[in-house]
Symmetry: C2
Subunit: 193 residues, 2 copies
């Protein structure tokens, strides 16, 4: 997997921090005007007042930038909510709500959602949260935490995605409750005997 491996990316150099932030801001601004596929690297660089070569110095392509930006923004959104892993029921609903909100927030105008690259970057984050949450619990001997986390994360995302694509959709809070009801059994299936 080549997702979310930016561990070697940790820099303190204000130049690279500035460049990356400007690139993300630029992409976000452009996404409000046009579809992702219709945005060129040159446009992103121009909007950021950076050279196109500088872009490639930080991201292999525009999808990587989108992934990094999505990852960052979703983590911020969740952190802003202050998910507590002490009460898991609340965490599950909060994560579901976070995914719903994130979809509506980031994909403002167009049917930007169709792009898997945008969507997919949220799943590993959610997966990591479940993995962290599961580590605080005893689970049945045969169960695999990573498997449970992956299944739950993909299920939540699939549900949230479907909800978002629905016209005249119910409120996000209500949807989060439905998602919780559907997904909770997955996690409970690993409860110790």
């Amino acid at each position: 997997m080549a997702q979310v491996v930016q561990s070697a990316t940790e820099t303190t150099d204000p130049r690279v921090l500035r460049s990356r932030r400007m690139l993300m801001d630029s992409l976000l601004a452009l996404l409000r005007k046009k579809e992702f596929e219709d945005i060129s690297v040159q446009e992103i660089a121009d909007e950021a007042t950076l050279n196109r070569a500088t872009f490639y110095l930080h991201y292999p392509d525009k999808s990587a930038l989108l992934q990094a930006m999505t990852d960052l923004r979703f983590r911020e959104l969740i952190e802003r909510r202050g998910i507590s892993f002490s009460d898991c029921d609340g965490a599950l609903r909060a994560i579901a709500l976070g995914v719903c909100d994130y979809l509506t927030e980031t994909t403002g105008c167009p049917s930007q959602l169709a792009k898997m690259s945008l969507e997919g970057s949220i799943i590993p984050v959610v997966e990591g949260m479940f993995l962290e949450g599961l580590s605080h619990h005893a689970i049945a001997p045969g169960a695999d935490p990573a498997m449970l986390a992956a299944t739950a994360a993909w299920a939540i995302f699939g549900a949230a995605r479907r909800w978002f694509q629905t016209r005249d959709r119910i409120p996000a809070e209500q949807m989060a409750a439905k998602i919780e009801a559907m997904v909770k059994p997955i996690l409970l299936s690993a409860a110790p005997a």
Copy 2:
């Protein structure tokens, strides 16, 4: 969504059938040698002994070809198994097994799996199968079949994907049983009171 809308694609003209089959075969052959992103439309056309313009006559881009090919091959695999919607328990396990098998079958050599575009094309197919299966049942008033189908499909795929990425993985049949156990509650949550 622009996925799996090929309804207008039904043709009997032997020329287009031949072209499309050759394009799919070419892509499949090339995928055994290199990554999807490293394959150009020109290469696919060359391998198929077709003109590049002919490619664009059938698919808007190479991702569309990949989607169409994945869709076709997965449907064939499932059909070969003869999924019966009369007993749903069997169908659920069979679909899960189909997804597992498909992952191992199509992504033979490289870590081709990382590509969402390849993976994602299976989900709508699975979703459609659940939708079909659910249409034969009475469900609770508040439940939405499309939502259930989407959630179950994504959950299955997420689980199968995780399984496939695991080294020294358990047999597909065993995994399918685990998936069934995890996913069944999602569908049961809509059982009529």
